[in-house]
């Protein structure tokens, strides 16, 4: 039903005086793809979205929608649907009038408008009994569905969603993201979903653009970003609890980490070409630590500082050699605050990053 288009960004740039909000971003988004645009606040993701929507004029670069340049078109000439966190709904109108707005503007007959309204309401899960209520009377979850429905009713080439779930509580947003994922899959609507929440981006998108400080740090599938982060920023931003980072030093016979030396062989040649005495940042995912009985190139003793018993998993906050870190385990080790415990990590589960640039060493 919905027309759907591919989007290309070529060296897109936005400067505000001294500040480079978006630094020469180039991205290809396939038709029908749901792509996440993820970054902390101030990373440039909203500026990027505004340039795509036509709300902000780029300093340089080009935007193509289905091969046609749209860089200098007005927002209303772009056929792009927007769902923002401050909802775009007419509060004084009924739900049905909101959903039928686009069809009415197109001059559809009364019966056609009603048919379209019912179809869209069904897609976004608005009950028929809600259709004649005022939009203002809906709860936040229903209003979010309505905003989504309005955007879908426009049948845009591209849909942009900017933190659309910020008004919802945690449970509602988990339900809603599952629904958006299924909906997007059914409609094959090209969609860019902006969020600062890495879990939301991971669960929804087939690929994610990670931005920081105006730069694209990595583009990849959730699994790529998690297992093969390109740099320390992505490694630390993706995953919860966050990756643990330690200072390491290249020695003649391996890598010095905490009070142990990891033999070079356990690191699969990743130390080759690094100068002895050089510093590297070592990253370990909380679940890569194994307790006592595990085998691993790195084995050390830690002191338990805090424990978070979450039922299905336990988070252990440990300290060793002055460094603190988090261990995630499905086991229930019988240790309490102040107790010592042994942990191991396999060499292959250590991520190495250049201490200066933060780029991954692989």
């Amino acid at each position: 039903m919905t027309a759907t288009s591919k989007l290309e960004l070529r060296d897109l740039r936005k400067e505000y005086d001294e500040l480079v909000a978006v630094d020469d971003a180039s991205i290809d988004i396939a038709a029908g793809e749901l792509i996440g645009l993820l970054g902390p606040s101030g990373s440039g993701k909203t500026t990027m979205l505004q340039m795509i929507a036509g709300l902000t004029e780029p300093t340089a670069g080009e935007i193509f929608l289905d091969g046609e340049p749209i860089t200098h078109l007005a927002p209303e000439e772009r056929d792009i649907g927007l769902v923002f966190q401050n909802l775009a709904i007419f509060r004084k109108m009924t739900v049905a009038d909101n959903l039928g707005y686009a069809a009415r503007i197109d001059g559809a007959s009364k019966a056609e408008v009603r048919k379209s309204v019912e179809r869209i309401a069904k897609i976004v899960g608005i009950e028929e009994s809600e259709l004649d209520r005022s939009a203002d009377d809906l709860n936040p979850n229903q209003q979010q569905r309505l905003a989504l429905g309005r955007a879908i009713a426009d049948e845009p080439d591209l849909m942009l969603m900017d933190e659309p779930m910020d008004n919802l509580d945690e449970e509602q947003s988990i339900d809603m993201r599952g629904e958006i994922k299924q909906l997007q899959n059914e409609l094959e609507q090209t969609m860019i979903y902006v969020t600062h929440d890495q879990e939301e981006a991971m669960s929804l998108a087939s690929r994610i653009i990670v931005m920081d400080d105006g730069q694209i740090r990595q583009i990849g599938s959730p699994s790529d970003l998690y297992y093969e982060p390109a740099n320390r920023f992505v490694a630390g931003f993706i995953g919860s609890p966050s990756m643990n980072f330690f200072e390491g030093m290249v020695a003649s016979d391996g890598l010095e980490l905490l009070d142990v030396t990891v033999p070079g062989g356990a690191l699969g040649g990743r130390l080759d070409g690094l100068a002895e005495g050089g510093e590297v940042t070592v990253g370990v995912r909380p679940e890569a630590f194994h307790l006592a009985d595990g085998e691993g190139a790195v084995r050390f003793t830690a002191t338990l500082q805090e424990k978070e018993p979450l039922g299905s998993k336990q988070l252990l906050h440990g300290e060793a050699n002055g460094e603190t870190f988090v261990v995630r385990t499905r086991k229930r080790p019988p240790i309490e605050r102040g107790d010592e415990f042994d942990v191991t990590v396999a060499g292959a589960d250590l991520y190495l990053f250049d201490a200066e640039s933060g780029e991954v060493i692989d």
Partner: protein, 366 residues
């Protein structure tokens, strides 16, 4: 120095009040304990906290501190500090003056006051806010100043109403650990209200699960997860929510949807009748093929979260949510694929359908 007991607390609020009815609430919080009241909205958590603080008076029942009834004790004499969800900072005062408020009331000397303010500000990472006014603070900063104000007085009892509400996930995780550490150092009694079971589990020594003005169960976080008394607690504790499927026990077999188990393997001897089974998403196992697994399942949708993947799947039309730590699930499995699924009798929570009571739980070896 501050064991707190709530016995038979009841309080009816007017219909248009923002506070919800407390029907019958009893629990004991031990001295120095970190205790959480957790439940969905409308369960009466905040009302209970107000009754403990003495802001409202109960219609029935009462509160005692260290065995002494608080019935005649006004709030300001209870040695209790309170963080409200919508904490109101004084807009015309600086961060420092806001935090100083309880110390000023206690008559703490200026030099000592500054030292304590700076210590707590340092722990909460808000030193840079001390000489600024609240209008310039972000939501998270206001929250931390409010927490600092509540904790700086080192009252023997601190009551925290959704102290981490409205913050984003990373900040919440960080601050909950900080609260736990501060509690550890201060040694007072904390009662923390939250709607988030994960937040409660992460900080609490013990927690009370509330619904509709009543306490369903009190226990340790892992204890409630492992041994819920009823279906409400089983569903409320643990994320994602436990799968619950209607079933029947007869002729020595418990059958629920496509799943079937020998009832002898369920521990206690159960009478024939209607039961529901509960399967925690982390307790079912996935395998690449159905060979050797109990069931064949079709993938409906996967949500990769990094360390784990949430998988929604169907077995002969029965939907089930599973969480897997396996990397192949994250990297190789797509919508419509077929996988093997194993659920053993020892993975089950068995719930009596009529009463909602949990009559068997998995043996987690503890």
């Amino acid at each position: 120095m501050a064991t707190i007991e709530a016995h038979g607390l009841a309080k009816q609020y007017p219909v248009d009040s923002r506070y919800c009815t407390v029907a019958d609430v009893s629990f004991t919080v031990e001295d120095g304990e970190y205790f959480c009241l957790v439940g969905p909205s409308g369960s009466g958590k905040t009302s209970t906290l107000r009754l403990i603080a003495g802001i409202d008076e109960p219609d029935d029942g009462g509160v005692s501190f260290e065995g002494q009834s608080m019935a005649e004790m006004p709030p300001n004499e209870r040695n209790v500090s309170f963080v409200f969800e919508n904490l109101a900072l004084y807009p015309n005062k600086t961060g420092r003056q806001n935090i100083a408020h309880p110390l000023t009331i206690q008559g703490v000397e200026a030099a000592d006051r500054d030292e304590r303010i700076e210590a707590i500000a340092d722990r909460l990472g808000i030193t840079h806010l001390l000489d600024r006014k609240p209008a310039t603070f972000s939501g998270g900063e206001k929250q931390r100043v409010g927490i600092a104000r509540a904790l700086v007085g080192e009252s023997s009892v601190s009551l925290l109403d959704e102290p981490l509400g409205g913050l984003d996930a990373k900040l919440r995780q960080e601050l909950r650990m900080l609260l736990k550490e501060i509690h550890q150092d201060m040694g007072g009694t904390f009662i923390h209200v939250t709607h988030s079971q994960e937040e409660a589990m992460s900080v609490a020594d013990r927690m009370a699960i509330m619904r509709q003005g009543r306490v369903h169960q009190v226990g340790t976080p892992n204890g409630l997860y492992d041994r819920p008394d009823d279906d409400f607690v089983a569903s409320f504790v643990g994320s994602p929510t436990i799968n619950i499927i209607d079933g029947t026990l007869e002729n020595g077999r418990l059958t629920a949807g496509p799943f079937s188990f020998e009832s002898g393997a369920l521990g206690d001897e159960l009478a024939d009748g209607a039961y529901r089974i509960g399967v925690r998403p982390q307790d079912a196992q996935l395998s690449q093929t159905a060979d050797g697994a109990g069931y064949e399942a079709t993938i409906d949708v996967t949500e990769p979260l990094g360390a784990e993947t949430i998988v929604d799947l169907s077995i002969d039309g029965q939907e089930l949510r599973v969480v897997s730590d396996d990397r192949w699930v994250q990297q190789e499995v797509g919508i419509g694929d077929s996988v093997g699924l194993s659920i053993e009798a020892n993975d089950l929570y068995v719930i009596e359908t009529d009463s909602g009571s949990v009559v068997a739980v998995p043996d987690r070896g503890e």
